[in-house]
């Protein structure tokens, strides 16, 4: 006895799928409300609106207004203290046009079972991540992103786990698991293991990062494949955006994962019934949990679905990189502390330049960082008036302009310091900058390991070895090529290579610009920390090292 073993239900599901195959403008709120009510759920709606700081060219939206519809299946005999969420984003056009049907079929099946101990919330959200954010903020009574939403009329208790479905065709060849969430947060590894176990049990092909598993993991090709999968996960985690609707749940300590159906050119297809059985199995397992998932790792990297790299393996690699900075700082400290040997004949060197000479480059670098953070969004109207660009282009190009303008700074701050360029001066500045970078990278790696690691790999070698006594032109070029902006550019190209869709230079450049605009939007809409971290902390730190290179 399983889902849809009843032929009537199978017919109803096929009918639903056919009806939903037709494109719908906007979301059919009344129809959804009626459909859910007829299945015995308590249905509520929530309307929300948000004005983006600048138009989003990828999704072509600026002023977003929408409605979320959710139905609560009350557990028949349990107190209403815990809940599970199954969500299907309702996007315009053909993306994700089958998931809502599957959701409704599941709701109908679940309604007839008596073993539910937690309430199940079936959420259909509009405008994907923005809708999910509005719903979560309404559910938890917070308002961290400045969204306007109507308060939720119905609630179901503390949410223990969530699953997000994305299904664009009624038959699929494989299911893709998406784990990376906002700010690189990952759900408990148990959730990924649960999904993989069910896929194997039902004979469904499952993938991670869009790549299939290989069994020959001890050969060179297998190893390369696994390394590529892991690199993809690192890149996706580092960019800090939520790669599925589940990503926003993680912030509220709700374990969540996204399941995406992929229809490629294989002979063996799986139909919606099997997917339904898989999801039913997963939800039943989650229903039986006595406590939130916490037994397995929260910090891991997946080279494949059956193997993982835990934090105990990858953190020492990062630790060793950070130790380089600390050792360099210690070396500088010892050099600064050793008494000046030139003071033999009583001619003493001028005493240490004091805090003020170091303070000026630090303050100016940080002010540039603040300008990089605030000005692109605030000056977009002025930029659009004077230049023939759209708002999005104005924001991105302003950011790049401020970033490049920062490179001209050393020539100006030197004049401000009125010739205080002593040997001691740059050493003190480098000591401060090295310690600052070490602490910054450490804190970043704790929250988002991939971001911290990528920044460490590109920044540590050059910053540890930089001094004003090197050939300035060569090292200036190297420093610019290893700066945070170029790191993003390389990551874009590497990512495209890894997903087997390599791009040409001009396409890569356009992708890079869209990545920057997405980063700024993610920060404004969902509170992603990558853009403020790079603009307010990493970029000023890099500028301080740039100052040291041009110290005269």
């Amino acid at each position: 006895m399983g889902l849809l073993s009843d032929p009537n239900r199978r017919k109803a599901l096929t009918g639903l799928l056919t009806r939903l195959n037709t494109p719908i403008c906007g979301m059919p709120v009344e129809w959804l409300v009626k459909a859910m009510q007829s299945r015995g759920l308590e249905v509520f709606t929530q309307s929300f609106s948000r004005k983006l700081p600048f138009p989003d060219e990828n999704k072509e939206r600026y002023m977003v207004r929408g409605t979320n519809v959710y139905g609560i299946l009350r557990a028949p005999r349990a107190p209403r203290t815990e809940a599970l969420v199954i969500t299907a984003p309702c996007s315009p056009g053909n993306t994700n046009n089958q998931a809502v049907a599957l959701l409704l079929a599941l709701a109908q099946y679940f309604r007839n079972q008596i073993y539910w101990a937690k309430d199940i919330i079936f959420l259909v959200n509009e405008h994907d991540l923005i809708g999910t954010q509005a719903w979560l903020e309404g559910y938890h009574h917070t308002n961290i992103t400045g969204m306007e939403y109507s308060p939720l009329q119905g609630r179901a208790g503390s949410i223990q786990a969530a699953l997000s479905l994305e299904l664009s065709s009624d038959v699929i060849t494989s299911l893709d698991l998406v784990l990376e969430g906002l700010n690189g947060q990952l759900p408990n590894l148990d959730l990924a293991n649960l999904f993989y176990a069910f896929c194997q049990k039902l004979g469904v092909l499952c993938t991670i990062q869009g790549k299939l598993q290989r069994n020959d993991w001890d050969t060179a090709e297998g190893y390369t494949h696994a390394a590529q999968t892991m690199m993809l996960m690192v890149l996706k985690q580092a960019c800090g955006r939520s790669w599925g609707d589940h990503g926003l749940f993680l912030r509220y300590h709700i374990e969540a994962a996204s399941v995406r159906g992929i229809n490629s050119f294989r002979h063996y297809k799986t139909d919606a019934t099997t997917i339904g059985r898989l999801l039913e199995g997963m939800v039943r397992k989650l229903n039986n949990l006595l406590e939130r998932l916490h037994q397995s790792y929260f910090f891991y990297l997946l080279p494949s679905l059956s193997r993982f790299v835990s934090i105990g393996y990858y953190m020492p690699a990062f630790g060793l990189l950070a130790v380089i900075l600390l050792l360099r700082a210690l070396d500088l400290w010892v050099h600064l502390g050793a008494p000046a040997l030139a003071a033999v004949d009583g001619v003493t060197e001028p005493s240490s330049p004091g805090v003020l000479t170091v303070l000026t480059p630090v303050v100016i670098s940080h002010l540039t960082g603040v300008a990089l953070y605030l000005l692109p969004v605030h000056l977009q109207e002025m930029a659009v008036e004077h230049f023939p660009v759209s708002e999005t282009e104005a924001v991105v190009l302003t950011a790049i302009a401020i970033y490049t303008a920062g490179l001209a700074l050393p020539h100006n701050t030197q004049r401000l310091l009125s010739g205080e360029g002593t040997e001691q001066g740059w050493k003190v500045l480098k000591l401060t900058a090295l310690l600052y970078l070490a602490v910054l990278l450490g804190c970043t790696a704790l929250i988002n390991f991939s971001l911290g690691f990528i920044l460490a790999v590109t920044l540590v070698p050059i910053t540890a070895s930089i001094t004003p006594h090197m050939p300035k032109a060569l090292y200036a070029v190297v420093m610019v090529l290893l700066s945070p902006a170029f790191t993003i550019l390389y990551c874009v190209f590497i990512y495209q290579e890894l997903i087997e869709a390599p791009v040409s230079v001009s396409e890569g450049w356009m992708l890079f610009l869209s990545v920057i605009s997405q980063g700024i939007l993610d920060h404004a809409l969902y509170g992603s920390l990558v853009y403020p971290l790079l603009a307010l902390f990493i970029y000023p730190c890099w500028l301080m090292f740039w100052n040291i290179l041009f110290w005269n």
Binding site: Q185, L250, L435
Partner: protein, 435 residues
């Protein structure tokens, strides 16, 4: 000196004013490292609301400030921000002014010691000259006003700033030589939080030194002055406590304030050492461990006073540092108070051995506190052990800092009397070891 000081004051006011009006103020007042159940502004507002309703502010175990503090805020609650900024200024203005007082006395002492050949001949470079000490008041003011810990504490409107102001006033009156005022202010500081009780010993030693009374238990002059000072101190304490009783009409404040400080019932995480232990402990042993932890704060007074009886000003610094590390609900405002005094001992810099390690540890821990709090409370990926590890590391760094300064001080004293370049009996170079 006046111009840089004025510039410093203006910069400090600007920073605080900007932060008060920004959205960060809400965020900072909620952080556990900056406010504790004893000095949070939220609780002061709650107590004032209860007082306005006619109910005792101590009912409900929310409010733990002293009655005099309630009445101070009763009249100034609309100007609370100004009160806190002014109290911050109190501290550094006082530290500015107390430096010259200390200096004159110290130069006199140095001169006498030199003339009486008590200092050895080759330690001239260890002596402090007026020139190098000219900027110390400005540096002390800068260390206090521009210290991020002080700024955070002020913006969060934690009453720690007022406690610091009272202690600074007490130090000022002590150094000025007025025993009565010093006794009254010490009583006020003890009344606020009990731990400044340990500052009685250094203040007493300072006055004895000032009046040239030798610290000898068999001399009657010693006992006479001690009893005088103790009488002034205890008397003021009794008067202040009685006044509090009459202000509120009940003795409720004693279990709510002092009982709370000693028995540590609230186990909200903070930067201190108590909360984790007491959360793990069985009820059966709670009394025993409370006593052990509280004795730890008071215990160091006796050996330190014996060792530093010639140097009461340094003893005051050590005592304040020990109180801020080992008290039951420390916050970063307490840490800022003793850090402000570090420039006064800048001549000890050459003898400090661990200053790099200490600065790195304190800097890294200050940055890691909010990160691990986020990972524990919001992301759920860490647990209390991570946060307590950082707390332990932070306190370890502080203890290392205090111990390092103690070592440097003693070493300098040793060099002054025995010469800078020490030689063993057979003429080879010797090294100094602190046992």
């Amino acid at each position: 000196m006046a111009a840089p000081l004025t510039l410093l004051l203006i910069v400090a006011v600007t920073i605080r004013a900007v932060l008060f009006r920004s959205s960060l103020a809400e965020l900072i007042s909620a952080r556990v490292e900056v406010v504790s159940p004893l000095n949070a502004w939220k609780r002061v507002v709650e107590g004032l609301a209860l007082l306005d309703l006619g109910v005792s502010p101590y009912s409900g175990d929310v409010f733990h400030e002293t009655p005099l503090m309630i009445y101070l805020f009763h009249f100034t609650v609309d100007y609370a921000e100004i009160v806190f900024i002014v109290s911050a200024y109190f501290v550094d203005c006082l530290s500015c002014f107390l430096k010259p007082l200390d200096r004159a006395k110290m130069f006199r002492k140095q001169k006498y010691a030199l003339e009486s050949d008590r200092y050895s001949a080759d330690c001239l470079e260890l002596l402090r000259s007026p020139k190098e000490m000219f900027y110390i008041p400005l540096k002390v003011a800068m260390f206090y006003l521009l210290n991020p810990f002080t700024i955070l504490s002020c913006v969060a409107k934690s009453t720690c700033g007022l406690n610091n102001a009272i202690i600074a006033l007490f130090i000022f009156c002590t150094l000025k030589g007025s025993a009565l005022l010093s006794g009254i202010l010490l009583a006020l500081a003890t009344y606020q939080s009990i731990y400044p009780l340990t500052l009685f010993a250094p203040a007493l030693l300072f006055f004895l030194q000032r009046l040239y009374i030798p610290v000898n238990l068999r001399r009657s002059s010693f006992w006479f002055f001690t009893l005088q000072y103790a009488f002034m101190y205890v008397g003021s304490l009794v008067v202040i406590t009685g006044l509090s009783f009459f202000l509120l009409g009940s003795w409720d404040f004693i279990p709510s304030v002092y009982g709370f400080i000693f028995s540590v019932p609230d186990l909200t995480p903070n930067i201190g050492l108590f909360w984790y232990f007491f959360a793990e402990m069985f009820e059966h042993f709670r009394l025993f461990f409370s006593c052990v932890f509280q004795i730890n704060v008071f215990f160091y007074t006796i050996p330190l006073s014996i060792k530093l009886k010639e140097h009461p000003v340094f003893l005051i610094f050590m005592q304040i540092a020990i109180i801020s590390i080992f008290k039951s609900y420390p916050t970063v405002g307490d840490v800022a108070l003793y850090m402000a005094f570090l420039p006064a001992w800048s001549h000890l810099y050459r003898f400090l051995r661990n200053i790099f390690l200490v600065s790195c540890v304190l800097l890294a821990c200050s940055a890691l506190f909010p990160v691990l709090w986020h990972l524990w409370i919001y992301a759920g990926s860490a647990n209390s052990n991570f946060y307590y590890a950082i707390t332990l590391l932070f306190n370890f760094g502080q203890i290392l800092l205090v111990a390092d300064y103690f070592y440097a001080y003693l070493r300098r004293e040793h060099h002054l009397t025995h010469g800078l370049y020490l030689k063993k009996k057979d003429g080879t170079e010797a090294t100094l070891v602190l046992k």
